[in-house]
């Protein structure tokens, strides 16, 4: 399973060293990512829903400090892993005609490896390593292939996120050291650190250390200001990675680490984070309303959905957990598709501003169809995966508290505020000279989009098949909750 992590790295280094024409680079990229994808699918097929942690690998790395290279997958991480494996080749297929920069693909491979590692690692140090390494290619891609004042944006984004990660680093070290004080030897393994006994204030501080990193990555409310600029000036590949994988990774980390390590603290703090999440949900949604730059709009819309995910997690019952992890997957699919289509659109009309567009449906019906479909899947109309997830999260919220429930249910309204206006402005109306010879989707673009669309539909119509992999893990956590409530 380490191949999942290291195949991208190896390929990237190979591409970096060997000189070759750009098309060869792309095809090698596609091949290697497809290999990763097939391995991931193999993983998915052989995944046993009821076993907790599986495909575990464990090697000692820095023995004095008990840092191990230990990876494994369970219901929580499965979704991220699958998304990471599936989306990456699709990016290349969808943008096959564009992006004739070798570095672009090399960096993407690095990112894939980093995300894969972060999603799979069970050792905090390892996790931190990948978590950070992931940033570097993103930094480079924004700086190298970005739009606008990308240099500034890249550095700002980097400082912003690294600040969070450093806080997390200190927290991790604190955990390890206090583990040593209690058990006599260092360990960074998740399973060991579970048994720590921390005082309330300690766990509070460490928790916030972790949360800082995750909150910035996701981002939840006050830490979101890097978001829109970064999305705006980042190249598509990275925007997809950020919105569909990196942010989701942050959300996933909340479950994987915070809920595992600080069960009680999470419960004590849950109300606040639910509050922040709900506020963010509405705040971002409304902020997105009169954005004129499509990328900014979608950036804010994903932020809004991610806040909903956070709410779902911190509601912390089976519906919330499952719903959120389901929303992670489905939103990853939808937003990836949307950003891909934005890139295709940009290639055709060289603009992201809504006002300059219009009438695309007339000249490019298929494009319009897919675009509208993905937009609606973000809104969460029935038969799309988003609907299932939102229903579950709302259900969880209502179970938590009826008023919270109502606020969470506003998500069915929020997304519409901007989506429909956007659809009308972009697709409908009459064509202008920008859009009048707008070429419809090409074969390879369809090849990239159709799988996404089918997956979204399948997850919307037969959710049970997908959810049964997540549910058992969620059950254990939800039952933890019962315990910690009774104690």
């Amino acid at each position: 399973m380490s191949l999942l992590i290291f195949l991208p790295f190896i390929t990237a280094i190979f591409l970096f060293i060997v000189k070759m024409p750009i098309n060869a680079v792309k095809s090698i990229y596609v091949v290697s990512t497809l290999c990763v994808a097939s391995m991931a699918i193999y993983l998915y097929v052989h995944f046993d829903p009821n076993a907790s942690m599986q495909f575990i690998e464990n090697h000692s790395w820095i023995s004095q400090y008990g840092i191990n290279y230990s990876i494994g997958v369970d219901g929580v991480s499965l979704g991220i892993v699958m998304m990471n494996a599936l989306l990456m080749p699709l990016i290349a297929i969808g943008l096959y005609k564009q992006r004739d920069k070798k570095g672009y693909w090399i960096h993407l491979l690095f990112v894939q490896g980093g995300i894969m590692g972060a999603a799979l690692s069970l050792d905090l140090m390892l996790f931190y390593l990948f978590w950070e390494v992931m940033l570097l290619p993103i930094f480079f891609m924004i700086g190298l292939y970005g739009y606008g004042k990308s240099n500034f944006v890249a550095i700002k984004f980097n400082i912003y996120t690294i600040f969070g990660s450093l806080m997390m680093l200190v927290a991790i070290l604190y955990l390890a050291v206090s583990y040593k004080e209690q058990f006599g030897f260092y360990s960074f393994a998740l399973d060991d650190l579970k048994n720590l006994k921390l005082t309330t204030i300690e766990s509070l501080l460490v928790f916030s250390g972790f949360m800082m990193a995750f909150a910035i990555k996701i981002p939840i409310f006050p830490f979101h200001t890097w978001l829109s600029d970064t999305y705006r000036s980042a190249p598509t590949g990275i925007v997809i990675v950020m919105s569909s994988l990196m942010a989701k990774l942050g959300a996933y980390a909340i479950w994987r680490f915070l809920f595992t390590l600080f069960d009680k603290t999470s419960h004590q703090l849950a109300p606040y984070f639910i509050g922040i999440g709900l506020f963010g949900l509405i705040f971002f949604g409304i902020s997105a309303m009169n954005q004129t730059h499509l990328k900014r709009m979608f950036a804010l819309s994903s932020a809004s959905h991610l806040s909903l995910i956070v709410v779902g997690f911190f509601v912390y019952d089976i519906y919330g957990l499952v719903g959120s992890s389901y929303l992670i997957i489905s939103h990853a699919l939808s937003s990836a598709a949307l950003f891909l289509m934005l890139a295709m659109m940009y290639e055709r009309v060289q603009t992201y501003t809504i006002d300059t567009l219009g009438g695309i449906a007339k000249v490019a019906p298929v494009f319009a169809l897919f675009f509208a479909f993905f937009a609606l899947s973000i809104v969460g109309v029935p038969l799309t995966s988003g609907f299932v997830a939102e229903v579950l999260i709302i259900l969880g919220a209502f179970e938590y508290n009826i008023y919270i429930g109502f606020l969470a249910a506003t998500t069915v309204l929020i997304a519409m505020l901007f989506m429909f206006k956007m659809i009308s402005a972009v697709l409908y109306g009459d064509t202008n000279e920008r859009t009048k010879n707008f070429q419809d989707l090409r074969a390879h673009e369809l090849m990239a989009l159709i799988p996404l669309a089918l997956l979204i539909l399948a997850m919307g119509i037969f959710p049970n098949y997908f959810i049964k992999n997540i549910e058992p893990t969620a059950k254990t956590f939800a039952s933890n909750k019962e315990v910690s409530h009774h104690e």
């Binding site: 240099n151 890249a154 450093l166 070290l173 604190y174």
Partner: protein, 496 residues
């Protein structure tokens, strides 16, 4: 071969080849490259010899009847000696192109280099205050001259002036401290002092405490801790690149070798007394260093300022020696190793770019380097990342140890502070990367690439990476674990 032999061989060889070069420099057969390779060879050989001694714990007083056990050779000194011999070797190797391109690198410079290394060797082995002082002065004075090597450059001579003046000022503190200690202990042998401290009560040690304070201040001056490190920016700026690298990387190691020995052996008892001072010093150093670093336009001065920050990190570890002796000390050793690799690499790249001119290299001079010289840019990036403590480089592991030891010692707040400083450092380090990659290059002049230096730069870069992820899993190469073991042995050899 026996350790006794090593103990004598290393300084002897250094001294011999120094004198030899000195004489050879006047002969007609002397060419710059010969002198260069003689020095390089000496360093390499001595490194091999001393590296032979590391990896096991031992202590042996060198010919006590002759030297009156003024010098001692143990795993500790062996480790450090090999460290800074390696450092000196790398510095010189990377500086090849610089040496070739500059006129003022006469044979005296090689001689001085060797002398200073000799002084450092003795300093590391010194077991007695006055010996240490002499060694320190030998080393420092050589370095003074090396700084002012370029007589025609106003900057260089001014740097020389400042360093010399302040250096001797600081040295006098050391002497005063030594006198105070001697006044109450009646000896300057470290072992005797340690015994005195353990055997008497605090009231009888007031002079010792004051003396140790003064000595510490000298050391703080040498490692450029605020407020004693005000010279560092000017001197680093004035000195030519290889010398700057040498000071930043190598000299620091020697100083720390001494400070660790004396602190661990003697003044550990006053640890609780000193901690507030050291912590305060660490914080001030971190703040001041990062404040200075963000404001610089010249990359060299930025690196100089950041070296102050790194001294701050070292002080963090230093403050936690009392509670977490082992982890803190090994953290310091590892950090020194990591830092000298990265710093030598970074300065080396700069010297490589500067082509021997002493003009300041500003951020804008780096623009578009990634296009014109991708390999240089890549390795420079690696060094910068390592300095920034970015994961998967050796610098990260080093910071990791520092923070761990700090937390272990109960100074979590210090670790937090260090993290903040690191966050700030991201700004000025990544600015470099930004300029390397994102800015469009001006007219790209193709400098005749000096393969020799290039190779060593690349090697260093690879080592830096390997130190970050290195593990004995893949091959039977020494990874991070091996380095840890080294420092363990070294500390073990000190008579604690």
């Amino acid at each position: 071969m026996s350790n006794e032999f090593i103990a004598l061989a290393v300084p002897a060889i250094l001294l011999f080849s120094a004198i030899f070069t000195l004489l050879f420099g006047f002969s007609v057969h002397y060419t710059k490259s010969r002198g260069y390779f003689i020095t390089l060879g000496t360093l390499f050989i001595t490194f091999l010899i001393s590296a032979n001694g590391i990896g096991e714990t031992f202590t042996l007083p060198v010919l006590p009847h002759i030297f009156n056990s003024m010098v001692v050779y143990d795993a500790f000194s062996a480790t450090f000696i090999s460290l800074f011999l390696l450092g000196g070797f790398l510095t010189l190797a990377i500086a090849k192109s610089f040496v070739d391109n500059t006129c003022f690198f006469t044979h005296e410079s090689f001689v001085l280099l060797l002398f200073s290394l000799f002084g450092m060797v003795i300093l590391t082995m010194a077991n007695e205050l006055l010996t240490a002082f002499i060694a320190l002065e030998i080393a420092s004075m050589s370095v003074y001259i090396l700084v002012g090597l370029n007589r025609n450059s106003l900057r260089a001579s001014e740097a020389f002036f400042k360093y010399l003046l302040l250096g001797s000022f600081a040295a006098s503190f050391y002497l005063l401290g030594m006198v105070l200690i001697y006044a109450s202990v009646k000896s300057t042998n470290l072992a005797v002092i340690a015994h005195y401290i353990l055997s008497t009560n605090l009231k009888a040690q007031l002079l010792v405490i004051a003396g140790s304070m003064l000595i510490m201040i000298t050391i703080m001056f040498k490692i450029a801790a605020v407020p004693f490190g005000a010279w560092v920016l000017d001197v680093y700026e004035g000195a030519s690149f290889p010398i700057t690298a040498y000071m930043a990387g190598v000299f620091k190691i020697a100083i720390f070798a001494f400070i660790l020995r004396i602190f661990l052996q003697n003044f550990i008892a006053y640890e609780s007394l000193y901690d507030p001072l050291i912590i305060g010093g660490a914080m001030v150093t971190l703040i001041a260093g990062s404040l200075l670093a963000v404001t610089q336009n010249s990359v060299k001065k930025m690196l100089a300022a950041s070296s102050v920050v790194h001294s701050g990190y070292l002080l963090i570890a230093f403050a936690s020696i009392g509670e977490a002796t082992y982890s803190a000390t090994s953290a310091i050793i590892f950090y020194l190793f990591a830092y000298f690799l990265s710093a030598i690499g970074a300065f080396g790249v700069l010297s490589y770019i500067s082509k021997g001119s002493d003009k300041q290299i500003n951020y804008d001079d780096l623009n578009g380097l990634a296009k014109s010289r991708p390999i240089i840019a890549a390795s420079f990036t690696i060094f910068i990342l390592s300095l920034a403590g970015f994961p998967s480089t050796i610098g990260f592991i080093a910071k990791f140890y520092i923070f761990t030891s700090a937390i272990e010692a109960g100074y979590a707040i210090l670790a937090f502070f260090g993290a903040l400083a690191a966050c700030v450092s991201i700004y000025y380090y990544f600015k470099v990367i930004g300029h390397l990659y994102f800015k469009e290059s001006g007219p790209v002049e193709s400098l005749s690439g000096e393969k020799f230096s290039l190779i060593f730069i690349v090697i260093t870069a690879i080592v830096v990476l390997w130190g970050g992820v290195g593990t004995s899993l893949l091959y039977d190469l020494p990874g991070i674990n091996a380095l840890n073991d080294l420092s363990r042995y070294a500390i073990g050899s000190l008579s604690l």
